[in-house]
């Protein structure tokens, strides 16, 4: 039994914190909202070796696991850093699992080529299709239609709100053939990517429109493709965990130094209990991130459940923590002067990306109901 981080993982965490601390990421998040340039930290990621985290060592990567990628994502989330890993890492996990593509994987591992995963949500018991986020509304769209011709295919369709798509060198797109089967296509050009920015200036998002865009078909096991969707869920959950840690630290510091009626506000139960609630939600999220990281490697059949649960817990924790961060600070917490709104904005947008939190909660229920029927 060992369900804690290894020394190597702690070192990875510390190194990531150190590398990110050299940049004014939180100030940059505010400037981005004010119309300033987004602070792109891809070079920082390259120097640290993050683009190759999940690529095998003999193909130029670090050969690490899902948990390691989540730990880096948590550090990025903690300081609201804009690092294009949410798009890149799942793409590399699919290509790495597919075998071959050694030259491309080497360059992806170096970060010379940046990939973005254009994801589709795997089918579930209530929805038999591979679906993608729509530009607006509750109804999910079908994944782009793929016409396969030998080892190449062309894709037609739109995928909205794709993390890290703008500026990506290659897109790894999940489409479906006329029979609804998933087809993965590596699209190098021919896709239209409309950069969109909403509410949180640190998120690089794009609407990807494919009009007969062609590329090589990537031959990948369907389970590995499903895992990539859930890996993205795990990464976004990890970003949230890091942000909750930061929000709790800021809240505690202020609750100790701000006095009302002759005593620190952190001594009042109303404040103290709310911050313990943040701690409770945070530790629940951490346990589920560890579960997801462990399952990615050691229990792949449980990974969809684990990552979905982590996503639900992380979103809830981040929502609550960022609201408490504002409340503890009082009026100033709700102003542009303070960092709290930046965390709040991050939380609200994150919770709606990649199928949204509700979709993950449904997946948790689906897994358990399926297990119950099988039992």
């Amino acid at each position: 039994m060992n369900f804690e981080l290894s020394d190597e993982q702690r070192a990875l965490q510390e190194a990531a914190r150190g590398a990110l601390s050299r940049h004014q990421t939180v100030a940059a998040a505010r400037e981005a909202l004010d119309g300033g340039e987004r602070l792109d930290l891809w070079d920082t990621a390259r120097e640290a070796g993050w683009p190759g985290l999940l690529i095998d060592e003999d193909r130029g990567g670090a050969g690490l696991g899902g948990l390691d990628a989540m730990l880096v994502a948590a550090e990025c989330g903690r300081v609201l850093a804009s690092v294009a890993l949410l798009g890149h890492v799942p793409a590399t996990s699919v290509l790495n699992a597919a075998g071959g593509h050694d030259d491309l994987l080497g360059r992806l591992a170096e970060g010379d080529v940046r990939a973005a995963f254009v994801p589709a949500r795997p089918p579930g018991d209530l929805d038999p299709d591979w679906t993608v986020d729509a530009v607006q509304g509750h109804k999910r769209a079908t994944a782009p239609l793929a016409e396969v011709d030998g080892d190449r295919a062309t894709l037609t369709g739109t995928v909205a709100w794709v993390p890290d798509a703008p500026g990506a060198d290659v897109l790894l797109v999940v489409g479906v053939d006329s029979g609804g089967r998933p087809i993965v296509v590596l699209v190098k050009d021919g896709a239209q990517v409309e950069a969109v920015s909403r509410y949180d200036g640190t998120r690089l998002l794009g609407h990807v429109t494919l009009d007969n865009a062609g590329g090589a078909v990537i031959d990948v096991d369907e389970d590995d493709l499903r895992a990539a969707w859930y890996l993205a869920q795990g990464l976004i959950a990890a970003e949230s965990l890091g942000a909750v840690e930061a929000a709790l630290e800021m809240s505690i510091a202020y609750a100790k130094e701000r006095f009302t009626f002759g005593r620190a506000i952190g001594s009042y139960q109303a404040v103290k209990h709310a911050l313990v609630e943040v701690l409770r939600l945070m530790e629940n999220t951490r346990s589920l991130i560890y579960y997801a990281g462990w399952a990615f490697q050691d229990a792949p059949a449980e990974f969809p459940l684990a990552a979905s649960a982590a996503r639900v817990a992380g979103g809830k924790a981040f929502d609550f923590a960022s609201r408490e961060l504002i409340s503890v600070h009082g009026g100033i917490g709700a102003t542009w002067e303070h960092d709290a709104p930046l965390y709040f904005r991050r939380a609200q947008l994150s919770r709606r990306l990649l199928g949204g939190e509700g979709s993950s909660a449904d997946r948790v229920a689906e897994s358990l109901l399926a297990q119950a029927r099988a039992a």
Partner: protein, 408 residues
């Protein structure tokens, strides 16, 4: 990360599993329609089962060998508990004694006390109960009013009332916290005693709960005589002794949610059986949310075990697991009742669950007092100003009475 046993632990687990399979026929049936209905007979059979487990070395696994334990680690005890659960067999009858009170005696008791009391406790020849909480002292445990006065011959006279006492009606002894010096601040004048439950002047009365069952008791003490050697630890140093018990209580309760049966798969089974519910998006959202918390708890448990295995003592935050377990189980009961309708409130496990949880919320420390403790000790937030610091207990009581009178 590795959820597997070490080779030694795996061997131990196999040994336990095989023993349980061989001994299955000897285990009493205490739940379900086949259960032993007669209460006395059920208690007798349950005690017999603990004795069998003890003889095989599976009770008090982490106790020192010299007192009948196995001298193994807390993880081996967890393995035993897991295997008993897995086999669907009952655990021991005196989990409170073996888990909390025995370890307190081991930590603070005299050698004579250890020799006299520990082995019969382990074998359930003598069941124990915890006599701490009182009607007017729960969260503020140091405010207890049960009073023990010293006689000239060194013996004690005890009067007062305790409450929420599980197993009092079947216990041979209780571990009791009493006030021995009211003229010093309240944490200082307390002493821990061992009380024979059959002593003259002890009255036990069952306390029915929302479930309709009486799992707790009230216990009254009317001038009960206690011999000098019944003091555990030092006189007027009972608070330190009590903290040891409370630490073991946190370990028992914080790590026990799965043992309490609040598992996501159990709730999912109830809902999967109803096709309309299983495909209803709202039901699924609610199940997804509560299951997320229960699964988190399972893996928090593994983190706690890792800490134990490394020789670290989990902090008060481990107790937050109880908050999560109770909340998620309340959500589950609510959801299942919404799905099944009034029938869920009949004579079945769901109505029992729904009725049991409001009380469990306060058991082993209310949620509010727990949040205070964690907020102060883990988050480092300042304590609330207190009106009882440094004041002799007798004076404090007088002030409280005066304030309560003024409010009338």
């Amino acid at each position: 990360m590795d959820l597997n046993d070490s080779p030694e632990q795996a061997d131990y687990r196999t040994k336990v599993r095989e023993w349980l399979e061989r001994s299955r026929a000897e285990a009493p049936v205490l739940r379900g329609p086949e259960r032993i209905r007669d209460e006395d007979e059920a208690v007798r059979a349950h005690r017999g089962w603990q004795r069998r487990l003890a003889e095989a070395g599976y009770v008090g696994v982490a106790w020192p060998k010299e007192y009948g334990g196995q001298g193994l680690g807390p993880l081996e005890q967890v393995i035993v508990n897991q295997e008993i659960n897995r086999a669907g067999l009952p655990g021991i009858i005196d989990a409170i004694g073996v888990g909390m009170l025995g370890p307190t005696v081991i930590a603070h008791g005299s050698e004579d006390q250890k020799q006299r009391y520990l082995a019969p406790m382990l074998h359930a020849d003598e069941v124990w109960c915890q006599l701490f909480s009182e009607p007017a002292a729960g969260s503020d445990l140091a405010g207890i009013q049960s009073r023990a006065k010293r006689e000239d011959d060194g013996s004690w006279r005890l009067s007062g009332q305790k409450v929420w006492t599980t197993n009092a009606q079947i216990s041979a002894f209780g571990l009791l916290l009493a006030r021995t010096d009211p003229d010093v601040p309240k944490h200082k004048g307390l002493t821990m005693f061992i009380v024979p439950m059959d002593a003259e002047g002890v009255t036990i009365r069952g306390l029915r709960q929302i479930t309709g069952e009486a799992e707790f008791n009230e216990v009254f003490f009317d001038d009960v005589e206690l011999a000098e050697e019944m003091v555990v630890g030092n006189i007027d140093d009972g608070w330190r002794t009590a903290l040891t018990t409370l630490m073991f209580e946190r370990l028992t309760i914080g790590g026990g949610s799965e043992g309490m049966g609040y598992r996501a798969d159990r709730f999912a089974e109830a809902l999967a059986a109803d096709e309309a519910a299983a495909t209803d998006p709202e039901v699924r959202q609610r199940l997804g949310a509560l299951a997320t918390d229960l699964i988190a708890l399972r893996f928090s448990g593994y983190r706690m075990l890792t800490a134990l295995e490394r020789g670290q003592i989990p902090g008060p935050e481990a107790a937050l697991g109880k908050v999560t377990a109770v909340r998620a189980a309340i959500e589950a009961g609510d959801l299942i009742a919404d799905v099944l309708g009034p029938d869920a409130l009949g004579d079945n496990e769901w109505s029992y669950l729904i009725s049991f949880l409001p009380g469990l919320k306060s058991a082993g420390g209310t949620e509010e007092i727990l949040r205070n403790t964690v907020g102060e000790r883990v988050l480092g937030l300042p304590p609330e100003p207190r009106l009882d610091k440094g004041i002799p207990f007798s004076e404090l009581r007088a002030k409280e009475r005066e304030a309560a009178g003024a409010a009338k």
